[in-house]
Amino acid sequence: MCDYPEEIKDGLAALETDYRDFQENNRGANGFLFFAENRISGRSVAIKFYCGEPGERQHDEPRQLAAISSPNVLPILDARMVSDEWGYFATPRCLDGDLDDLIEGFPSVHCAVDAAIGICRGVSAIHAERMVHRDLKPGNIVLDRGAPRIADFGSVRALDEGEETTHASGHSVLYRPPESFGTDTYGRGGDVYQIGLITYQLLGGALSYNPEAYLNRREWKEYQEIEDQVDRSLYVDGVIERRACAGRLLDLSTLPPWVSGAARRCLNELTEPDPSKRISTVSEAAAKLTQVRASMQDWWWDAGSACVTHGQTRIEVRPVGDGSYEAFQIKNGTPRRVRGKRKGSLQQVVQQLP
């Protein structure tokens, strides 16, 4: 802990009276994040140190976090200043990881939609206070006993009286809504767009975090000719911006075959590049997602097989070599081929099932 500013070292030393077992966490952007355990209650907490010029907006993040009351927004436990510029706030530590961990584990269909609806609930509480989040992405949403909790409030902005938009955030170009590039404005519809991208990822859609993955052959060639790292980064950001504005960031063909037409239409409506045609409120998004949930069976992946339960019977669509799949019915632990169903691609086999 020797590379931190003196104020943080002093702050940590003072915190040792009440907390123990400090661990650094390198995921905390815009500050320094530590995990610790309260010496009396034994509760695990996350402590974030943040820095800001003294002034009206210095403590925006903890104040905004404290203003929201929702089970899908991380509550604030304590906040203090350690110097004129540095302060910290503590929140509960969520031990289940973040949404990126959930996405990597291929959640079941219903688990994915339930997480998206939970995010809508949290964002609706933020919007009700006339604030916009501006940086919703899987890494900023933690999981607490399965429920999503919006955690990072570093980009949250209050909308001025009579205004429906504010400036766009410069964070996470991948999740920036198209309208924010040209006009540098961001409204509630921007948060809806970001929920759409997250829902797409939760349902199994591919959205690479490697910026180079978005380059086509010509762009790759141009990119290789750029020497300066900053210019390279700006070039890739431009490519992602063009894709987002053209509505080509999502590739719905990467979604698993059990993702229904209703779900695909909903994803298109959530991520529509034109904000006037996009679903405009998170409550509307939540309502649509309940319909999407009801339109799909609860498929999940298990060791390379796609599984679904029909009553007491489990159906597994297993790979059987040469890239094809076949449906098996598992009853009392014994697999049997499902009668009348042919081998084929995953999509072909899934579509044959009731």
Binding site: C111, R121, S283, E284, K288, L289, T290
Partner: protein, 133 residues
């Protein structure tokens, strides 16, 4: 004043929110929610989360629910009763159960709304008219 009108139909909750500063009103939002299963805890929690998102967004002064009998030949189904319970448990305001008779006295319709949303609109309007006398 904001009134959230709700009608339960099978496993759907149709809602229309209206806002008024006087005798007339405007439609704020409308939509349909679906309960995925009546004995599936996760489906009920997801429905509750969606209901809470609507309540946060609309912030109603009155919740108007199209009344359905809880017993008899015309009784509401399990899904309707569970959705109604979730809505009532989460609403921040008073609830007005609007009878079919009161709804029939309202001939308001909005051509911009789907047919399945018209009963929810009429429910909201009936509650609004009673409130303003």
């Amino acid at each position: 004043m904001v009134v959230l009108g709700v009608e339960f139909s099978a496993s759907d909750m149709n809602y229309v929110a209206i806002r008024s500063d006087g005798d007339s009103y405007e439609i704020m939002t409308s939509n349909r929610m679906t309960l995925g299963g009546t004995r599936d805890r996760n489906a009920l929690v997801a429905f509750q989360d969606a209901v809470k998102a609507v309540l946060n967004d609309v912030d109603p002064d009155i919740l108007a629910i199209k009344g359905k009998p809880e017993s008899g030949k015309m009784q509401a189904g399990a899904a309707s009763l569970k959705m109604e319970a979730i809505l009532l448990a989460n609403t921040p305001c008073a609830a007005d159960f609007v009878s079919g008779q009161r709804i029939n006295q309202t001939d308001d319709e909005a051509p911009s709304l789907y047919a399945y949303l018209q009963p929810a609109l009429k429910t909201a309007v009936a509650a609004f008219r009673r409130e303003i006398g």
